[in-house]
């Protein structure tokens, strides 16, 4: 591939106090790729995802998005921490969807979607509202704009959360177990929205337990365990014929 990777991690380490969570993660995500991260809980996949938009700060290694370091500026051979404002500016281009939705409960669905464009991009409310409506339509919730999150089902909330992230017109979307908190019959709607995004060419990194989705939609898949990448490749290959014992053991439990 000749283009520069959307996300590039080199020997990324992260500890919380004494707990060493990421122990040298190397991977590359190409533009327009749907990149799936799987692994047992505690393997560091969510932590890694959170490092990409600097919700967590890495302790060692290099992590860059679209060619720019995350959280630091490099000058000569020194790294300088970014200020709050600079970190915030970089996050605009990265959408994130959380396991527990994290919609703003004091705002209606449409206000949730408008919040980023109006507050961060300084768009006019009228323009933002029009686009928010279109986005809610796209996730199949055009008629729910006036509802507060507490009046929506989990699946609907998660689709609003996706619309909220898309409103910032990101170049990269991060999904942190987007369907894990949902009732089984609601998972499909959310996955459908994500499938649509993938077809439109959005670069997506998805931490998931939905092996079906990974196999069907994913372009690349990484199996993480104990803070390192154990195995990577095309989802069909990794899920179909895993090479490592740890991957085999994990898949035998979840498939």
């Amino acid at each position: 591939m000749s283009t520069q990777p959307m996300v590039k991690a080199e020997a990324v380490h992260k500890s919380f106090g004494a707990a060493h969570i990421l122990k040298g993660v190397d991977l590359e995500v190409a533009p327009r790729e749907v990149f799936c991260l799987i692994g047992p809980s505690g393997s560091g996949k969510s932590t890694f995802l959170r490092c990409i938009n600097h919700l967590e700060q890495i302790n060692a290694g290099r992590l860059s998005v679209d060619g720019e370091l995350v959280g630091y500026r490099e000058h000569g051979d020194r790294l300088y921490e970014l200020r709050d404002r600079e970190v915030a500016a970089k996050r605009r281009d990265i959408g994130m969807v959380f396991q527990r939705f994290n919609l703003f409960p004091h705002m209606t669905a449409i206000e949730n979607v408008m919040e980023g464009p109006v507050q961060v991009k300084r768009e006019s409310k009228a323009v933002a509202r029009e686009r928010a409506k279109a986005l809610l339509d796209r996730v199949g919730l055009g008629d729910k704009g006036g509802n507060y999150p507490s009046q929506l089902s989990g699946g609907q909330q998660q689709r609003v959360a996706i619309a909220r992230a898309l409103a910032m017109e990101p170049k990269l979307m991060l999904f942190d177990e987007p369907t894990s908190a949902l009732d089984p019959e609601l998972v499909g709607d959310v996955l459908d929205v994500m499938r649509g995004l993938a077809e439109d060419g959005m670069t997506m990194i998805v931490v998931t337990h939905e092996m079906g989705f990974a196999r069907e939609v994913g372009d690349a898949l990484v199996f993480m365990d104990d803070g390192v990448v154990v195995e990577s490749g095309h989802p069909r290959d990794v899920l179909g014929s895993p090479q490592h014992d740890r991957t085999k053991a994990f898949l035998s439990k979840v498939l």
Binding site: L55, K90, P105, Q119
Partner: protein, 312 residues
């Protein structure tokens, strides 16, 4: 506003679709204790009422002085000083709460010190200290900006405002801090992920949600403030209690004028409790599926059930 109430006629729907059933008819539990206690309460209240009617009380004076010009002025001053001090306390409270929670060790320490001092000394002492500030600083001199005699600056109103407001700020800081900490961390993360800065996240996302936790104790604080403001007569500010007791000692109707003061305090606290209800209701938007009814809506709802709701 979307506080429409959607009441589904659940029972009707079941009758329409499910199998018919016969409602249970049972003899309800008899609560004899309630009857006995009600009788006791009524007896005690009657006895109290009788005692007060026979006491050496000039009820006519109470009625006369209730809307006396001086008393009304005093009540107005009580409201003014309470509202102003509370406003000052609220601003300081938010400021010091945010400082206390910030990662900056300097602001954290300053906030801690402020709360430690103003919460740790009696408000009465603080009022006296502001009032007597001229004893140690005869002149207030903010070099290039402002210079004046302390006595001229420290009017009764200013002393009362600083005394009550700064004291209140310390309590409000703790209330606001609790409110901020009650907001789920995921909210901050979601706001950050959208590209909001820390300050904007606080203003747009965290504080509006913290309000739900902040308002009830703040209402409590305000009602306390209405009553604590009776202390400011010590700095020569003529509020409700001072104005009534002045009349009381002039006319030797001391208890009567204390009744007048109590009636006013009760009236004021009642009015502000109603305000609190509506404020809480406003900030409950989104966190409750349906908002609590206002008294007016409750009356309307009751009337409509009497009139039988139309069945769809």
């Amino acid at each position: 506003m979307t506080d429409k109430l959607e009441k589904e006629p659940v029972a009707d729907a079941r009758v329409a679709t499910g199998t018919p059933y016969e409602a249970i008819r049972a003899i309800p539990v008899r609560h004899y204790g309630r009857w006995v206690s009600a009788v006791v309460v009524v007896a005690v209240l009657g006895w109290l009422g009788y005692a007060f009617s026979q006491g050496n009380i000039l009820w006519a004076t109470v009625g006369d002085k209730l809307f006396d010009r001086t008393v009304v002025d005093g009540a107005w001053h009580t409201v003014v000083i309470s509202v102003c001090s509370m406003a000052l306390g609220l601003v300081l409270g938010v400021l010091f709460a945010v400082m206390r929670l910030s990662k900056n060790p300097v602001t954290g320490a300053v906030s801690w010190l402020y709360i430690w001092f103003f919460r740790g000394t009696p408000v009465y002492v603080q009022l006296l200290m502001w009032f007597n500030l001229s004893l140690i600083f005869p002149v207030i001199n903010l070099m290039p900006l402002y210079k004046n005699d302390t006595v001229a600056v420290m009017t009764p109103f200013v002393a009362a405002l600083l005394g009550l407001g700064l004291n209140e700020g310390a309590y409000m800081a703790e209330i606001v801090r609790a409110g901020i900490q009650s907001v789920d961390e995921g909210q901050t993360e979601a706001a950050h992920a959208l590209g909001m800065t820390g300050a904007r996240t606080m203003r747009r996302i965290v504080l509006p949600q913290a309000m739900r936790v902040i308002i009830p104790p703040t209402g409590n604080e305000f009602i306390n403030m209405l009553k604590t403001s009776s202390l400011v007569s010590v700095v020569q500010y003529t509020e409700l209690l001072r104005s009534t007791s002045n009349i009381g000692s002039d006319t030797t109707a001391i208890m009567e004028l204390l009744f007048v003061a109590s009636i006013w305090y009760l009236a004021l606290t009642s009015v502000f409790s109603v305000g609190q209800f509506y404020l809480e209701r406003r900030y409950a938007r989104g966190s409750l599926r349906s908002l609590p009814l206002t008294p007016w809506q409750r009356i309307k709802a009751n009337l409509s059930t009497v009139r039988r709701p139309k069945v769809a």
